[in-house]
């Protein structure tokens, strides 16, 4: 569960990124977080992954209090999250299997567990047949599916997808969003940050719109409309 209560965040340069944001995402939800550039979306993601601390208010993520979390506990908070980025962030010199396995090895999984789990994840994202390929041999959509498999492989409670379709054509974007919806249907909470109006409207999930550091709209089955954000 993710909970932000009256959260404010001001950076050292004086920029006020968030101004009293309150939101709650329950287990098993699929949420779109939309908003124009500089609206505070990235700041919310950084707060959830405990890269930064709030200036004011309270942030709880999967039972961890981000305000008071010890530095040594941050890795354990992050193990409850799976993060997917717009630019995939795959390791070019490793093949698909090893890119996914890398996330398991980083949290101390045994080779036996890796051998068992990675093929299952690759099957889930439809890339079993490309396990030995390197990222540059894959299309953008396929690379993003590898990134999703990597985010999922450690059984996170929440997947945070930061503009996951930003570098993809509409067809591949739809594939990725469908995959995230499928993952959500298996019980994982999904928070997707996006600008893709068509996709948001097509999936008709809960939509939280943020603008100028404030939540301006939060609707179940919402749409990406001009009332929600300026974009």
């Amino acid at each position: 569960m993710v909970r932000l209560v009256d959260v404010c965040k001001a950076y050292d340069n004086g920029t006020k990124a968030l101004r009293g944001v309150t939101m709650r995402i329950d287990d098993g939800e699929f949420v779109f977080l939309i908003g124009p550039s500089g609206s505070g979306k990235s700041t919310i993601i950084k707060l959830l992954t405990s890269e930064i601390k709030p200036s004011d208010g309270k942030v709880m993520v999967n039972g961890y209090n981000v305000n008071t979390i010890k530095e040594s506990s941050i890795p354990y908070l992050r193990r409850t999250l799976g993060v997917v980025f717009q630019d995939f962030r795959l390791i070019e010199k490793k093949n698909v299997f090893d890119n996914v396995a890398f996330a398991m090895r980083a949290v101390g999984c045994s080779p036996k567990e890796v051998k068992k789990k990675v093929p299952y994840m690759l099957e889930l994202v439809g890339l079993s047949h490309k396990a030995r390929r390197r990222p540059f041999e894959l299309s953008g959509g396929e690379q993003q599916r590898v990134a999703i498999a990597r985010a999922l492989v450690n059984n996170p409670l929440v997947i945070i997808a930061d503009e996951p379709t930003g570098n993809l054509d509409p067809e591949r974007s739809l594939e990725i969003m469908t995959l995230l919806e499928r993952i959500n249907s298996l019980g994982t909470t999904v928070l997707t940050v996006t600008h893709e109006k068509a996709l948001v409207n097509r999936f008709a999930k809960r939509v939280i719109a943020i603008d100028g550091g404030r939540i301006v709209s939060d609707k179940q089955g919402g749409y990406y409309s001009n009332e929600s954000t300026r974009n």
Binding site: S72, P75, R78, I91, A103, A106, V107, G108, R150, N154
Partner: protein
């Protein structure tokens, strides 16, 4: 780039260790020479040749009365000749008349650092011809040792700082090479120690490799120079320690410094990197 940097780091550590090691070896040799002199903290007091045996023996109580004298042994001219024969062989004595030798006293001192003062008192005794003490060699060696030890300590400190800095830079380059992997590791929840250990292992191996390479080079250099200096040793001027006697402590010190520089440099670099 990282490979070249590792090579450079090993090279610098090897050079630093050899410079440090060379000064330490000189210091150890001087220290040993001083200890040898300290063991022989005897003053040879040669009496006038014309002194009768009874007069010579009577000087013993006068010598014993000096505060810094612990013991004195009378050596008759015959005994002295015999000791020379024993040490150098009968052929050394061919052509030397038996009456050329004088009676002597071997005087053991309480404190070698007052040898020069004691020498002056002995010299003043009626019937004493010459006084030979190791005080001059001793004070020369002591001042050389002081300088060498000081230079050795300053160099060790400076070179360790340089080595640490070079090693930290090498590991910093390694972390830069792998910054994307580290970013992903942090994102998926790897602990800092998990991220840190491969770099520490790398630093450890670089440090140990450098220390072992430096050890063998130092050994070769020492053997080469000690052979030359050994020729002087044969003439009795200098006594150079064999590397065999220094092998284990030298290896231990080199490996310890290699370990400290390798691991210390890595810890410094990765700690800074993980903070950012």
């Amino acid at each position: 780039m990282h490979g070249f940097s590792s090579f450079a780091a090993v090279g610098v550590i090897v050079a630093c260790l050899i410079i440090m090691g060379s000064f330490s070896l000189v210091a150890v040799n001087i220290r040993t020479a001083i200890s040898e002199l300290e063991k022989n903290n005897e003053i040879m007091v040669t009496l006038d040749k014309d002194l009768s045996e009874a007069d010579a023996k009577s000087l013993g109580s006068e010598i014993s009365a000096i505060a810094n004298v612990r013991d004195r042994i009378y050596v008759s001219p015959e005994e002295y000749r015999e000791s020379l024969v024993k040490e150098m062989g009968e052929e050394y004595m061919i052509g030397i008349p038996p009456d050329v030798f004088s009676p002597q006293y071997r005087v053991a001192l309480e404190d070698i650092s007052f040898a020069a003062e004691t020498e002056l008192i002995l010299q003043a005794i009626q019937g004493v011809d010459t006084v030979r003490s190791p005080s001059r060699e001793m004070s020369a060696l002591l001042s050389v040792r002081r300088v060498v030890e000081l230079v050795s300590i300053i160099l060790t400190a400076l070179l360790m700082v340089v080595s640490l800095f070079i090693m930290a830079n090498t590991i910093k380059l390694a972390t830069f090479d792998r910054r994307e992997e580290i970013g992903i590791q942090r994102m998926v929840g790897a602990t800092k120690s998990f991220i840190r250990w491969p770099f520490i292992v790398e630093g450890f191996f670089l440090g140990i490799f450098a220390s072992i390479a430096a050890y063998f080079l130092q050994w070769a250099a020492y053997e080469r120079f000690s052979n030359d200096i050994g020729k002087l040793a044969d003439s009795g001027v200098l006594n150079v320690l064999s590397f065999d006697e220094l092998r284990l402590p030298m290896l231990a010190v080199f490996v310890l410094i290699g370990f400290l520089v390798g691991v210390g440099g890595s810890v410094m670099a990765i700690r800074k990197f993980l903070k950012t």
